[in-house]
Symmetry: C2
DNA sequence: TATTGTTATACTCTATAACTATA
DNA sequence: TATAGTTATAGAGTATAACAATA
């Protein structure tokens, strides 16, 4: 159990083993979903972290420090991440005339926004496809159960609340 | 939707929004689990890929080429990965006297095995803990639904079958 | 003096191309 | 000639420490 292995707990294929147990089920599902996200990002020649960056910027123009916090990175890593995205024309650094002169805000370029929206749409479609295997009743049941899991964890760990989509792990 | 963002679709905390929708529920769950795996690996000063390496080696001593395939890496990346793990005393390269003289098998050291087992146990505990929030009935229902998802996907994508635990994504 | 962001430096992880040594 | 694995090289991603500019 615990399968630090994606795909693996498959055990003999097509066997009547239909329950992996809660731990393996969760771990393997996470690998499955992450692989989908990674594939989608890769189709745009992006890493998951670059895709997350675009996702986070879909509805805000945070300063470097806030961006670092949103992505769970050090400020130095964020500098590098933004540098590479800027070099590719996906984001830009903007300075706000009034306020702290030291601050820099990061914003999507038109191209960056185009890709960010594409990514969001593709993730929705692709992930929905996996779930489409389940009959409607089970799908909404699953949705609710996972939502409870996620929301309870967020409550407990005081996860901040951001109403924006498109941010993966790291 | 599609939230390439972990933790984020939290929306206003403690609101009565109890259903994120199947897509966000799956995506956020995947981030939640991956973060747990990453935290556990980090407690042992390991990256997720190093933890996966140990997990894969728990029940085999594959050649470099097979290992690369199991981890989804190029053979060159695998050489580097094994080099670093070997330098830390977690794995060792062994040559089998008979057979292809070019082949190298990778095996856990005692220390590597100790850590591999620890990781597996911790993943089991930690992941089970999140699920523990759900009442028993819901938990087994969730386990079955996710298992269906994972197993159906494995069937469709002809995912190989390995009876070993501890292998994450990348 | 404290904070914001960048620079300098170092490692891990990953890939492609070229190479060595068997087969 | 083909295969197993390593070496060479390059670049992304990450972190810590030191620094510049502004508060």
């Amino acid at each position: 159990m615990s399968s630090l292995n994606p795909s693996q707990a498959t055990a003999r294929r097509s066997s009547r083993l239909t329950d992996l147990g809660i731990v393996d089920a969760l771990v393997q599902t996470s690998f499955l979903v992450q692989e989908m996200l990674d594939d989608i990002a890769a189709e745009h020649e992006l890493s998951i972290i670059q895709a997350r960056l675009l996702g986070v910027l879909r509805d805000r123009e945070p300063r470097m420090a806030h961006l670092a916090q949103l992505l769970g990175l050090s400020k130095q890593s964020t500098t590098g991440l933004v540098n590479r995205a800027e070099r590719r024309g996906l984001v830009r650094r903007v300075s706000i005339p009034v306020g702290d002169e030291r601050a820099v805000h990061v914003s999507l370029t038109d191209e960056g926004r185009r890709i960010a929206e594409l990514l969001a749409a593709q993730v929705s479609m692709r992930v929905a496809t996996v779930a489409a295997d389940l009959p409607e009743t089970n799908r909404s049941r699953l949705s609710m159960l996972l939502s409870q899991l996620v929301l309870r964890d967020a409550d407990q760990h005081g996860t901040d609340l951001d109403p924006q989509p498109m941010r993966p792990t790291r």
